[in-house]
């Protein structure tokens, strides 16, 4: 009666009452079976393919192993190799550049576009659905598309350069050591800005309209409203988006692997590429694991410090209150 949606409601509560005490043990056993059936399979899968590999990666970083023979304890020599290796040092710098540039490029554009498509006008909904298109493409597809578009001989940009007589557009985009990294950062931005734009759209729509009405009453112009109302209210969205952006670009692999494979020279060689090479081309599983552990630790450290920095931890309680 109280719950019309319940289909199994046949017996009345009064009738169920007597069996309750005796059913206690049954119920507890029922719980245990249900727990095992419910949490067991995902935990098994998750532990086997995520947790165990994580532990193994840490162990492997202290081991010398080529994947075939018996692994030998190597102490800290893999780690020492990392700190001696000049390639690793450049990779670290390139990686940090990718992270920093991605953040600086993607955040303001995403905020601007997110606010734009948060508007309720019909044409903005159309814009929004077109903005999303890159999210449907795989990184492999995006890489191949841009590769041919940027081709210095037959690419579409070169053809534009010729027909518009804009020499600037004719460059060896991916072959020029001074350019390649920036081109990659731009393509990564093309791929991920749509996602962050959606985050900011959702974030903007969650800001209570009352705040804007109050700001208007107080005589705030558009600029003041943006700096004093919109941006502070988007704080948590900025943290979420920032973490995803930083951790994502820290471990970024696909586009760089397909488009430049670290070249020209070592100008676009990032740590994840180093790791892939060490493991799957040079069979140095120990050293590759050092790089892997570093990537993981760096990612977690960035995420945690961003959370600490911005008092993100208080968000959970706030959202629960709002829900």
């Amino acid at each position: 009666m109280t719950a019309p949606a319940v289909q199994g409601a046949r017996t009345t509560p009064a009738a169920a009452q007597p069996s309750r005490r005796g059913g206690g043990r049954d119920r507890r056993r029922g719980h245990r079976v249900a727990d095992l059936a419910g949490v067991g399979p995902p935990m098994l899968l998750f532990c086997l393919f995520i947790i165990v590999p994580m532990i193994v990666a840490m162990v492997l970083s202290f081991v010398r192993w080529n994947g075939l023979g018996t692994p030998h304890w190597a102490g800290g020599s893999n780690w020492a190799q990392f700190f001696r290796d000049p390639v690793a040092r450049t990779s670290l710098v390139v990686t940090l550049k990718v992270v920093g540039l991605s953040y600086v490029v993607q955040t303001p554009i995403s905020i601007a576009l997110g606010l734009f498509i948060a508007g309720r006008q019909r044409y903005r909904a159309v814009y929004a659905s077109l903005f999303v298109l890159p999210l449907l493409m795989s990184t492999a597809g995006i890489s191949l598309m841009w590769e041919s578009l940027l081709d210095p001989n037959f690419g579409a940009l070169t053809s534009l350069a010729k027909s518009w007589h804009v020499a600037f557009l004719q460059q060896n985009w991916l072959g020029d050591p001074g350019l390649a990294l920036y081109v990659l950062v731009a393509i990564i931005a093309w791929q991920f800005i749509p996602f962050h734009t959606l985050l900011y759209q959702v974030g903007r729509r969650q800001i209570p309209q009352v705040l804007y009405e109050a700001a208007t009453l107080d005589g705030a112009g558009p600029a003041a409203t943006f700096w004093r109302v919109t941006l502070p209210q988007l704080r948590y969205t900025m943290v979420t988006s920032g973490i995803l952006m930083v951790v994502g670009s820290l471990t970024y692999f696909d586009i760089i692997y397909i488009m430049t494979d670290g070249g020209p020279g070592f100008t676009t060689r990032v740590l994840s590429l180093d790791m892939y090479d060490a493991a799957f081309l040079q069979d140095q599983y120990g050293y590759a694991s050092v790089l892997a552990v570093l990537l993981g630790v760096l990612g977690i450290a960035v995420a945690v410090s961003l959370v600490r920095f911005t008092g993100f931890a208080t968000m959970a309680s706030q959202q629960e209150g709002a829900a």
């Binding site: 199994g8 046949r10 995902p42 899968l45 449907l136 492999a140 979420t240």
Partner: protein, 274 residues
């Protein structure tokens, strides 16, 4: 009069500039895919003149794109079914808070949100190899599903938590078991969130590149992202064929997007924004 505000004008202008940045490469790709190898080199890549043909599409299907397509569909469907069902079961138990072990498992799974797959790819490879699953679709199903569990469980928990407790107690009082509660209450009520997660995870699986790259090798288990790069290896000078391959691989997602645009957009933005 509000329309004429300069701020709004600038916003529309910037939005339009970004729209061009998004659409121009896609337009170029579509046009290029309808060229032949010869006309691609001779004609203006931005103007649809000088003869268009669909021959590139038959070229790529002859080169095995159909196989990659079937593999991708199989893999994605398997991952969606596996992840979504087991995550919902777990979420139900976590919300019921029936034991400490369950709550502990939830914490462990949340921890997984912070582990990038790149950081554990080497041990995953070794493990799959030792399990004799290297170069099989099963290896991809297992690993990609495992990688999707943290997000899925988190989203499901926050959804199931909002199902009124009274409904569950009422069912139990009326003699229902945990299983009937799950089967007759949680499962039917969760349909919308299941759809959201299916789309979100499905997109990730469909487009994943690293795991197929590391865990498979032969063409008959290659999925689309990997297959496309194989095509490029085969036809590195045949740009129209490569573009046709890329377009065929986006087409299923594009159809999905056109059919259920609202749902897709809210899954993409909503899953994380929750």
């Amino acid at each position: 009069m509000r329309r004429l505000r300069p701020g709004r004008l600038v916003a529309v202008l910037l939005g339009t500039v970004w729209l061009v940045i998004v659409l121009a490469p896609l337009y170029y790709m579509i046009l290029a895919s309808f060229r032949t190898q010869g006309t691609y080199l001779t004609s203006n890549p931005w103007v649809p003149s000088g003869g268009l043909s669909a021959s590139s599409y038959s070229t790529v299907f002859h080169a095995g794109l159909g196989r990659y397509l079937v593999n991708s569909v199989t893999l994605t469907a398997a991952c969606i079914v596996l992840t979504v069902t087991i995550s919902l079961g777990a979420a139900f138990r976590i919300v019921r808070r029936s034991s400490r072990a369950v709550s502990a498992s939830f914490v462990v799974m949340l921890f997984g949100l912070a582990i990038p797959i790149q950081a554990i790819i080497v041990p995953i490879y070794v493990l799959i190899y030792k399990m004799h699953l290297y170069d099989t679709l099963i290896a991809l199903v297992l690993t990609l599903s495992a990688a999707a569990i943290p997000v899925s469980v988190l989203i499901m928990v926050s959804f199931v938590r909002d199902i009124p407790r009274e409904l569950i107690s009422a069912m139990l009082v009326d003699g229902g078991t945990e299983w009937t509660v799950f089967r007759q209450l949680i499962w039917p009520l969760s349909r919308p969130v299941l759809a959201t997660l299916a789309i979100y995870n499905g997109l990730n699986v469909w487009n994943n590149f690293l795991l197929p790259l590391v865990l498979t090798q032969s063409s008959n288990v290659a999925v689309l992202p990997l297959g496309m790069t194989k095509l490029e290896g085969l036809y590195s000078i045949n740009v129209p064929a490569v573009m046709a391959g890329v377009l065929v691989s986006v087409l299923p997602l594009l159809v999905l997007f056109v059919v259920m645009r609202r749902q897709v957009m809210s899954s993409l933005g909503g899953v994380v924004a929750r």
